[in-house]
């Protein structure tokens, strides 16, 4: 072996490689670093026997996946009494039982965040076109039974028992003229004392009686069997300005909610029902 050449400037041995006058210095890895590397290699080999990184090969220790499912099973076991309690009670009984109520509210909140919040908002705040679940009005009813039925079957979904209704497109289908729509929109707003044009509102009264009362009720109080919203209150699903109301009469929008009956299990739906009932609109 020849003695390695030393670099004059730094005193470090060179590797003997030289490119256009640039020499490569031989600065080996720090010893401690190298030992740590070897140690990790040794650890890796031993570890592979305990937890093999090969799918389908069993090791001495459970894989993290197995450990996780064990932990989940443990947690499920801890929840078992509550879950069977919920399974064997209806939503009203759950609400009456302090412990079950607390458990169902927490469980429902988790499921709500996952499944419902994207449309209805966190805390059921709602958004234009997506009804608020925190206020005191309900399109399809706010008793525990109503809420549960809506969750299971959805609204205008592909479930055979879905809640279904459709408002006529009075403008698009030429049932009413533009002027008539303006009048009846003013009348609708006058029900909550907000009509911008009192004369138009008076003119709209008759049009309302002929076209709207069958679903929205004599005085615009709404009809939950048909999901027809009340028109005499402060809550507007698609906006409460004159233009908003005219648009809805001309060419109505219809919200769709999927049926959750097939997607979520019965217990989860019960917990969701209980949770939604705590948001503020609970009706007995």
């Amino acid at each position: 072996m020849t003695t390695p050449k030393k670099d004059e400037l730094t005193g470090v041995a060179t590797t003997g490689h030289e490119w256009d006058g640039l020499t490569e210095l031989n600065n080996p890895l720090p010893r401690w670093w190298l030992y740590v590397l070897y140690a990790t290699i040794v650890f890796g080999v031993i570890y592979a026997f305990f937890v093999p990184p090969i799918p389908g090969v069993e090791g001495i220790l459970p894989t993290t996946r197995q450990a996780l499912s064990e932990r989940v099973a443990e947690a499920r076991e801890g929840q078992a009494t509550f879950l069977t309690g919920i399974e064997n009670s209806d939503a009203a009984q759950i609400r009456a039982d302090g412990e079950l109520f607390a458990f169902a509210t927490a469980g429902g909140a988790a499921s709500f965040a996952e499944n419902c919040a994207p449309c209805h908002g966190a805390g059921g705040a709602g958004a234009p076109g997506y009804p608020s679940l925190a206020d005191d009005v309900w399109l399809w009813g706010g008793t525990l039974g109503d809420i549960e039925a809506t969750i299971i079957h959805g609204v205008r979904s592909d479930d055979p028992d879905t809640r279904y209704s459709e408002m006529l497109a009075f403008g698009r289908d030429g049932i009413l003229t533009g002027a008539q729509i303006g009048d009846v929109a003013n009348y609708v707003l006058s029900l909550s004392g907000k009509a911008p044009d009192a004369q138009a509102a008076a003119a709209g009264k008759e049009i309302f009686a002929e076209n709207c009362t069958s679903c929205h009720g004599e005085n615009g109080e709404g009809m939950q069997e048909l999901g027809a919203p009340a028109l005499d209150d402060a809550i507007w699903l698609y906006g409460g300005t004159l233009a908003d109301v005219e648009t809805q009469i001309t060419n109505p929008k219809h919200g769709v909610m999927p049926a959750w009956g097939g997607r979520l299990d019965e217990t989860t739906i019960k917990m969701l029902t209980v949770y939604v009932s705590t948001l503020g609109g609970y009706e007995e």
Binding site: L9, T10, A125, S132, V137, A230, A234
Partner: protein, 482 residues
């Protein structure tokens, strides 16, 4: 030319190194008043440390009866009659502030008394060194042993020392575990191997850190790891006591033969006894240093030498800068304990003591925390009313089940309802129950009728009243409108 630059560069590279390798310190045994004082303080401090967790304090049923206990799993801390919930962690902050100010105060008066006599690092290192000396011999024998090659004698001495260190580490650092568990339960459990993995884990952690810090790191902890020496000089002034070498008396130093005259020379015979005993490995004659922990062992060492030479003691001693100068010029000494600095520390200390005492005396057995809903911030109801939701947490700090009345002030026109108890509301006062020693959570709605214009944000108070004792807790929150 190129060579000159290369030399310069190599030179500067050499100077750039900021790393100082450790020079191992071999403190020599010393006996004297200060060493006695240090042993005494070690015995007293360890005594307190071991006895405290075994003291009992009756708190009634369903409560631990250990006088000093930090119960992590149940989120409670017990100090005699005081019980602290996590929500009251400000008491801990107060305690830490008192500790800091107490140290400021003592340091400005007496220098690094804390470092030299009471710091666990010092106390435990003292024990470790004592064992080391017992097994490996004194300074010179230890130096020789370390230099010597491998031998059976070296092997058994080294292993015996480390084994003894581990035992001391378990007994000192490891004993900390007793403050976090019921001591009479956990100690037998540890000995019989039935304590949980957490207990053994922490026992190992405390033992390992004690073994490393007191056995291996030693003075490096004080010099490099501890922040206290770095800023304690801010508490020093010319009246602060510090271990000082009286250079006016000692210099010029030099070797002295028996019978020689002491004329025209200092009393320091350059025997280096003060250096040999120093646990920090410094020379006190270099003046005040960051490394000096003020333990005063060099005072003992020097006094012993002075006694042998029939010279007056105190060539090294605790002295303030002012008295040092007065001594040098032969003027009477002047002790100056009451100074603006000490007054300020004492006053702040007293104020915090007062605040803590007031906080503990007026500590309520009930607390209420209110969280205003943010999703949705407010809800418009069908009649135009505005409703806000609140999550109310009731902390029942008693050991009985309690019924509380919840009411609100400053929002008189609102109506209240509690989720889950829609029927049982009477006149805007809700009835909330809370299990003993637990936090109960309720969701409450407040509704303001449409006739009243709601501000964008209106503050008001929730009030919780204990129905039996009348104890009251308030929490300010807001009502939000459009």
């Amino acid at each position: 030319m190129a060579d000159v630059y290369a030399d310069q560069e190599a030179q500067s590279r050499k100077e750039q190194s900021l790393y100082a390798s450790r020079v191992k310190v071999y403190p020599k045994k010393v006996w004297g008043q200060i060493r006695k004082l240090k042993w005494a303080s070690l015995i007293v401090l360890l005594g307190i440390y071991y006895i405290a967790p075994w003291l009992r304090w009756d708190r009634g049923p369903n409560a631990p009866d250990q006088a000093f206990l930090i119960d992590m799993p149940h989120r409670r801390a017990y100090f005699l009659w005081i019980e602290i919930w996590p929500q009251e962690v400000y008491f801990l902050v107060g305690l830490l502030l008192l500790g800091a100010l107490g140290m400021f105060f003592v340091t400005s008066l007496f220098g690094r008394i804390w470092c030299g006599y009471t710091c666990p690092q010092t106390v435990w290192t003292d024990l470790f060194m004592w064992v080391e000396r017992l097994i490996e011999g004194d300074r010179n024998q230890r130096i020789r042993l370390d230099k010597a090659g491998f031998s059976l004698d070296k092997l058994w001495r080294k292993s015996a020392k480390h084994a003894a260190w581990v035992v001391i580490a378990i007994l000192t650092g490891g004993a900390w575990i007793m403050y976090f568990n019921d001591a009479p339960t956990v100690v037998p459990a540890i000995l019989t191997g039935t304590a949980g993995i957490k207990v053994y884990g922490f026992l190992f952690l405390f033992t390992a850190t004690t073994y490393l810090l007191a056995g291996w790191a030693r003075e490096q902890v004080c010099i490099y790891m501890c922040p206290w020496p770095r800023f304690q000089s801010a508490m020093y002034d010319e009246d602060t006591l510090a271990v000082t070498y009286r250079d006016w008396r000692g210099e010029p130093r030099g070797k002295h033969k028996k019978g020689e005259s002491w004329e025209n020379r200092g009393h320091c015979v350059d025997c280096r006894a003060c250096v040999a005993v120093c646990p920090m490995g410094i020379d006190i004659r270099d003046g005040m240093q960051l490394e000096c922990i003020g333990c005063g062992l060099c005072i003992d060492a020097c006094n012993n030498i002075m006694d042998n030479l029939d010279l007056p003691r105190g060539l090294v001693g605790y002295d303030s800068q002012r008295n040092q100068d007065l001594r040098a010029t032969g003027k009477p000494l002047h002790f100056h304990f009451i100074r603006p600095r000490t007054i300020v520390y004492a006053v702040i200390f007293a104020i915090i003591c007062g605040l803590m005492a007031w906080g503990l005396l007026s500590r309520s057995t009930v607390e209420v925390n209110v969280l205003h809903d943010r999703n949705p911030v407010y809800v418009t109801l069908s009649d135009g009313s505005i409703r806000n939701g609140y999550t109310i947490r009731v902390l029942n700090k008693t050991r009985q089940e309690k019924v509380y009345k919840l009411s609100f002030d400053g929002l008189g026109y609102a109506t209240m309802s509690v989720v889950g108890q829609e029927d049982s509301m009477a006149e805007n006062i809700a009835r909330l129950t809370a299990a003993p020693n637990m936090v109960a959570t309720y969701h409450v709605f407040l509704t303001v009728p449409p006739e009243l214009e709601v501000e964008e944000s209106h503050s008001f108070d929730f009030t919780l009243t204990d129905r039996d004792t009348g104890a009251i807790a308030h929490h300010e929150t807001i009502f939000r409108g459009p």
